[in-house]
C-alpha cells in the first residue's frame, strides 16, 4: 500500500491525474476570469490536461525528486546510489539511474512499440489485400497509416538506438555510467508519456495527416491531431535530453588513452547522431508548436485567410525530418561496424574513412531537406542545388559500404545470426540507397512523387537498413546483457524468413509506384490487385517471423547456454567484463593502449582493466 506514496508507477496512477485535474481547474478559472468563451472548451482543457498529466507522470515516478531537493536548498548526497542498479526485476519498472537498466527499459519498451506499429500495418495490409473496402473506412485507414508512421519513427526507431547506445557506450569507453544518470532516466520515462499521448488519440478519432501532419489538413482534423503534435514534441524532448547525455559522456568520460581515433565506431556513430539530434530536433518542435497554436489558439501561421504560408511548415518540418532519417540510420552503421569486425575477426577497413564519413553525413544532412519538397510548389531555383547535395550525400554512405566489404574481404566469416543480419543489411540497404539516388534526380522524383515507389524506398532503408542493424545489434550483445547464448538455429530461421519476407513485401512496391499507384490510399485501381495481395501475404509472414525472435529472446534469456564474458572473442572494452557486467561496470579505471580492432595482431590489446585503482585518485566534484 505504501507503493502509492513512494516513487513508483503505482504513485503515477494518482499523481498524473491530480496534475491534470489541477491544470484543468486553473485553466477554467483563468478562462472565466479573462472572459474567454466557452469556458469549458473541450480541446483546450484536454490539451492542458495532457501536458500537465505528462509532467505529473514524471513527478510521480520520482524523476524530479533530486532536483526538488536542490531547488529548496536542501543537502545533496552525490554518493546516494539507492536508485541505481538492477537488484531485482522490479527495478526495471522504476526510476533507475543505471545506464544498463535504462538501456533495457528502452529496448523492451520500444520493441513493444515496434510490435504495436507493426500491428497497425497488418490491419491496413489486410485492407489493401483486395480492391474495394472491406476492413476499415477511409478515415480509419488514414488514422492507421499515420499512427504506423509516427509510432515507428518517434517511439521505436529513434529511441531504440538510444537504448542500445545507453547500454553499450559507457562500457565501450570505460565509464562507470553516463554523464547524467538521472536525466537519462527522465529521458526514458518521457517515452511512455509520448506513446500514451499518441496512441490515446484513437479515442478522439486519431490523426489523419500521415506522420508529416501538413497544414491546412492538420488545422481541420479532429482533436487527435493535437495529440499527434504534442506526442511528437514529448518524444523530441526525450531524444534531445538523451543526445546531450551522449555528447557529454563521449566527450568527457572516455577512459585514459582513448583518443578520438581509438574509439570504437559505434561511439563515433552516436557522437555524430547526437550532434544531429541536438541541432535538428527543435525544428520539428517549432513546426508542431506553430501548427498546434493554429489549432488551439486561433493563430494564423498556416492559414490562407490570415496571410499565412503553408509551404514554410514543410521547410521547417523537413529541416528536422531529413536529418531525422540519418538519426535513424547512423547508429545502425556503427552497430554494423562492430558486428562485422568482431564476427570476421578483422580490423575495420578504413577506420578513419568510416569515422569521418559519419561526420560528413551529419553535416551534409542539413543541406538536403528540400528533396522531400520537389513537387510542393516551392521556389523552382532550389531544386537543382538540392538535387546536387542529395546526390553528394550518397558518397559518404558508399564509403562505409566499401569499408564493410573490405573488412569482410579476406576474413574468416563466422555466420552467426548477428553477422547474417549485418550482411543481409548491406544487401537490402544498398537497394534502398539505389532507389534513393534515383529519387534525388528531380525529373524522376516529380514523376513518381507520392506513389508507392517512395514507400518502397523508405521501407528498404528503414526496414532493410535500420531494422536489420537493430536485429544484428540485439543478437550481437544478447550474450553480454543476459549472460546466455541465444538459440542459433532459431536465429537463422528468424533471419532467413525476415530477409525473404521483407524483400517480397517491399520490392513489388517499386513496380507499383512506377505503374502509378498512389500512396496513403485505402483503395486502388484493379491492375494493382495481384501485387497488393502478394505484398499483404508477405507482410503477414514478416510479422509472424518477429514471433520467432521474441520467443528466442525470452526463452534463451532464461534457459540459454551460459555465455561467459567474451563468446565472440571481441576486443572492445565491454567484452572484458562479466556477462552481465557488475553494477558499476569496471573495478578500476581502464587504460586504453591501442585501437579497438587489433584482430590478428600478436599480443595486441585494446585496453587493460586493473583490479584496483593504481595511483592517487582525483576526486571529481
Amino acid at each position: 500500500m505504501t507503493a502509492v506514496l513512494k516513487p513508483t508507477l503505482a504513485r503515477c496512477l494518482w499523481v498524473a491525474p491530480a496534475f491534470a485535474a489541477l491544470a484543468i481547474l486553473i485553466t477554467v478559472a483563468a478562462r472565466s476570469l479573462v472572459g474567454m468563451t466557452p469556458v469549458l472548451q473541450e480541446s483546450t482543457l484536454l490539451t492542458v490536461a495532457y501536458i500537465a498529466g505528462g509532467i505529473g507522470f514524471i513527478v510521480g515516478i520520482g524523476g524530479f525528486d533530486y532536483w526538488f531537493t536542490w531547488m529548496r536548498g536542501g543537502e545533496l548526497d552525490p554518493n546516494d546510489h539507492s536508485q541505481h542498479g538492477a537488484h531485482s526485476w522490479g527495478d526495471y519498472f522504476k526510476f533507475n539511474t543505471d545506464h544498463k537498466v535504462i538501456g533495457i527499459q528502452y529496448i523492451v519498451f520500444t520493441f513493444i512499440m515496434f510490435l504495436v506499429g507493426g500491428m497497425f500495418a497488418e490491419i491496413f495490409r489486410s485492407e489493401l489485400a483486395n480492391p474495394g473496402q472491406q476492413v476499415v473506412t477511409n478515415q480509419q485507414y488514414n488514422g492507421l497509416i499515420s499512427q504506423h508512421g509516427v509510432i515507428m519513427i518517434f517511439v521505436f526507431m529513434v529511441p531504440v538506438f538510444a537504448g542500445i547506445g545507453n547500454y553499450v557506450i559507457p562500457l565501450m569507453i570505460g565509464a562507470a555510467d553516463m554523464a547524467f544518470p538521472r536525466l537519462n532516466a527522465v529521458s526514458f520515462w518521457l517515452l511512455p508519456v509520448a506513446a500514451f499521448t499518441l496512441l490515446s488519440s484513437f479515442m478522439f478519432g486519431s490523426f489523419d495527416g500521415g506522420w508529416t501532419g501538413y497544414p491546412t489538413l492538420s488545422e481541420q482534423s479532429g482533436y487527435g491531431m493535437t495529440l499527434y503534435q504534442l506526442g511528437v514534441q514529448l518524444a523530441g524532448a526525450s531524444s534531445i535530453a538523451t543526445a546531450v547525455n551522449f555528447l557529454v559522456t563521449i566527450i568527457a568520460m572516455r577512459a585514459p588513452g582513448m583518443t578520438l581515433f581509438r574509439m570504437p565506431l559505434l561511439v563515433w556513430a552516436n557522437l555524430a547522431t547526437s550532434a544531429l539530434v541536438v541541432a535538428a530536433t527543435p525544428f520539428i518542435a517549432g513546426a508542431q508548436f506553430m501548427a498546434m497554436f493554429d489549432r488551439e489558439m486561433g493563430t494564423h501561421f498556416f492559414t490562407v485567410a490570415g496571410n499565412g504560408d503553408t509551404l514554410v511548415y514543410q521547410h521547417i518540418f523537413w529541416f528536422y525530418s531529413h536529418p531525422a532519417v540519418y538519426i535513424m540510420i547512423l547508429p545502425g552503421f556503427g552497430i554494423i561496424s562492430e558486428v562485422i569486425a568482431t564476427h570476421a575477426r578483422k580490423p575495420v577497413f578504413g577506420y578513419r574513412a568510416v569515422a569521418f564519413s559519419s561526420a560528413g553525413i551529419a553535416i551534409l544532412g542539413f543541406a538536403v531537406w528540400a528533396h522531400h519538397m520537389f513537387a510542393s510548389g516551392m521556389e523552382p531555383w532550389l531544386r537543382v542545388p538540392i538535387m546536387l547535395s542529395t546526390l553528394l550525400i550518397a558518397i559518404p554512405t558508399g564509403i562505409k559500404i566499401f569499408s564493410w566489404l573490405g573488412t569482410m574481404w579476406g576474413g574468416v566469416l563466422r555466420m552467426t545470426t548477428a553477422n547474417l543480419f549485418a550482411i543481409g543489411f548491406i544487401f537490402t540497404f544498398v537497394i534502398g540507397g539505389l532507389s534513393g539516388v534515383m529519387l534525388a534526380v528531380v525529373p524522376f522524383d516529380v514523376s513518381i512523387t507520392n506513389s508507392y515507389f517512395i514507400v518502397a524506398h523508405f521501407h528498404y532503408v528503414l526496414f532493410g537498413g535500420s531494422i536489420m542493424t537493430i536485429y544484428a545489434g540485439f543478437y550481437h550483445w544478447f550474450p553480454k546483457v543476459t549472460g546466455r547464448m541465444y538459440n542459433e538455429v532459431l536465429g537463422r530461421w528468424h533471419f532467413w524468413i525476415t530477409f525473404v519476407a521483407m524483400n517480397l513485401t517491399f520490392f513489388p512496391m517499386h513496380y507499383q509506384g512506377l505503374e502509378g499507384m498512389p500512396r496513403r490510399v485505402a483503395d486502388y485501381a484493379p491492375q494493382f490487385a495481384w501485387s497488393n495481395m502478394l505484398i499483404s501475404i508477405a507482410a503477414f509472414i514478416l510479422g509472424a517471423s518477429t514471433l520467432i525472435f521474441v520467443y528466442n529472446m525470452i526463452h534463451s534469456a532464461r534457459h540459454g547456454k551460459k555465455a561467459g564474458a567474451n563468446p565472440w572473442g571481441g576486443l572492445t572494452l565491454e567484452w572484458m567484463l562479466s556477462s552481465p557486467p557488475p553494477i558499476f561496470n569496471f573495478p578500476a579505471t581502464p587504460r586504453v593502449i591501442g585501437g579497438p580492432y587489433r584482430y590478428g595482431e600478436e599480443g595486441a590489446k585494446h585496453a587493460i582493466v586493473p583490479e584496483v585503482e593504481p595511483a592517487t585518485v582525483e576526486t571529481t566534484v
Binding site: 565509464a175 555510467d177 554523464a179 493563430t299 501561421f301 529541416f319 558499476f584 571529481t620
Partner: protein, 198 residues
C-alpha cells in the same frame, strides 16, 4: 550478479575536459534552444524578409522604447556576472545581492514587454504576422521567466549558504543560461525591431 563481481562503488576518474560536464551539458542544451528559436526565426524570415508582409494594421514597431528594455537586459547580464565574481568563502551575501539585482532588472524587462504587448493594438490571432510577433517574443519571454525562476533558486541556495568557490557549478549554469537569454534577445531585437523588411 554475484557479490564478488558486484563492485559497490563507482571508480572515480578525472574528466577529460577542462569544463565541468554539467556546464558542457548546459551549453549543448543551449545549442538546442538556439535551434528552437531558429525554427521561429525561419518562419519570421520567410514571412517578413522574403515576402515582405507588413505588421497588422501597418503597425509601427517601437524600436526606440524597446531599446531601453534591451539595455536593461544587457545590464542584468553584467550584474549576473558580478554575482559570480563576488563568490567567496565567508558567506553568500554579495552573491545574493547581485542575483537579486539581476532578478529585479529581468523582472522589469518582462514587465515592460508585457506592457508593450498591451499597447501594440493587435493579438496573436491577428494574421500570420501577429502570430509570429507574439510567439517569437513570447518564446523569449518564457525563457526570461524560467531564468527568473532559476535566479530565485540561486538566491534561495545563497541564503542557505551553499555557494562556495569549490562548489558553484549551479551558479555558473544559472549565469550562462541568463547570458544566453540576453544574447537571444539582442539578436531578436535586431532582426525583428530594427531591420526593415523588404
Amino acid at each position: 550478479m554475484s557479490a564478488a563481481t558486484d563492485h559497490s562503488a563507482p571508480q572515480i576518474q578525472p574528466y577529460r575536459t577542462g569544463l565541468r560536464p554539467e556546464i558542457l551539458g548546459l551549453i549543448i542544451f543551449l545549442v538546442s534552444e538556439a535551434a528552437l528559436f531558429g525554427a521561429f526565426f525561419m518562419y519570421y524570415t520567410n514571412l517578413r524578409v522574403l515576402k515582405g508582409i507588413p505588421w497588422p494594421g501597418d503597425f509601427d514597431i517601437p524600436a526606440d522604447s524597446t531599446s531601453i528594455n534591451t539595455l536593461i537586459l544587457v545590464l542584468s547580464s553584467f550584474t549576473c556576472e558580478f554575482a559570480l565574481l563576488s563568490l567567496d568563502r565567508r558567506k553568500n551575501g554579495a552573491v545574493f545581492g547581485w542575483l537579486l539585482l539581476t532578478f529585479l532588472l529581468g523582472a522589469t524587462f518582462l514587465g515592460l514587454q508585457v506592457h508593450e504587448y498591451m499597447i501594440v493594438g493587435f493579438t496573436p490571432a491577428d494574421q500570420s504576422t501577429g502570430a509570429i510577433f507574439f510567439t517569437l517574443t513570447g518564446l523569449h519571454g518564457t525563457h526570461v521567466f524560467i531564468g527568473l525562476v532559476l535566479l530565485l533558486l540561486g538566491m534561495i541556495r545563497a541564503l542557505a549558504g551553499r555557494w562556495s568557490p569549490e562548489r558553484h557549478s549551479g551558479l555558473l549554469a544559472i549565469s550562462i543560461y541568463w547570458h544566453f537569454v540576453d544574447i537571444v534577445w539582442v539578436i531578436l531585437f535586431t532582426v525583428v525591431y530594427c531591420l526593415p523588411s523588404s
